[in-house]
Amino acid sequence: MKKSTMLDLLVLVIRRDLVLAMRRRADVLATLIFFVMVVSLFPLGVGPELDMLRKMAAGVLWVAALLASMLSLGRLFSADYLDGTLEQMMLAPQSLSMLVLGKMTAHWMVSGLPLVLLAPVLGLQFDMSARALGVLIVGLLLGTPILSMVGAIGAALTLGLRGGGVLLSLLVLPLCIPVLIFGTGAVEAVSSGLSVASHLSLLGALLVLALVFTPWVTAQALRISME
């Protein structure tokens, strides 16, 4: 029998969550379809004026991504909480923050990454330029992991509460506003001919900040929820 290292444990958690997601595909697809539907409703509802669509494209895509990532957050810890796996995770001889980071990563790969890949296709409905689409993708790549990480704090705090889903959104959505502002700001900068670097660097800074602090905060919140 060999002892495992911290990295082994991280890989184990990510692989486990990905396998589980593949075996419960309906949940993953629901998030994706929700994203596609919400984004597609806007051109239908607003009408085919290209100028207006181009202006609101980034905002619509980002808000839809934000809402879609809220959908799957409730399940981040609740299944593990109900079947006792979370107890075993807390008793792991490695730091709980590491396990939490693994779960956040898996959550992003399942519910954030597909949104990033779909966004350019949906952006075409809004007549976005190639350059704007490129910036949108980079912005989403930097921003969606933050949504998963900040969302995990909310998911941990509302664990085991009745009506936790609504509370979760109320807690997490305000915290995601900076991500939304910088993400859409970057795309708007392209159309007004300004530099996108500042917006994207701020998003990058937020990502690093989230990467450092959210796993630890989430782990503490989980310990409180388990009492």
Partner: protein, 204 residues
Amino acid sequence: MLEVSNLACSRGEHRLFSGLSFNLHLGQIMQVQGVNGSGKTSLLRTLCGFLMPDEGDIVWRGESIRELDEDYYAEMLYLGHLNAIKDELSALENLRISAGLSGIKLEEKEAIAALRRMGLRGREKLPTKVLSQGQRRRVALARLLVSDAKLWILDEPLTALDVGAVALIQELIAEHLAQQGMVIFTTHQPLHVAGVEMRTLSLS
């Protein structure tokens, strides 16, 4: 090894127990007794560090478990009411993942051997959702076979098990104690371990 002194615990406003002290040494087994709601599970969960005691201290190898944290968790194994197994995963995957979480890399062969000893031959690769309640409990209990933890904390390990499985668990506990392990458990069913003195702790 494990020293509990003057422990007090309450859930909500209700004081479950107070002034609880005991020691557990290598090779010893202790049963926690008490009626429903007397705080057996709360005591075991406090020993795991899930619950903060109101008063008192839990000391492992001379240090408080609060400070030891991960070093303590490397030496203990907790099996609660919940099996901690996923319906979507097979018995084999479940066992390898839960061993992985407790810090052990388990080869497929070792995992299959453990499941077979638990009487799950032929069920290793089935998703656990098609297994019966007792079989799922056996999957969870297979962790006892692959763990190298010194201290076992077992909360009602015998629920849903048949006579054969109960005998097997008694055998496993006897082996563990013979290897200088320690067990603290609760049960409402009779559990006899040959050749050792069973200590009891009554909560009232």
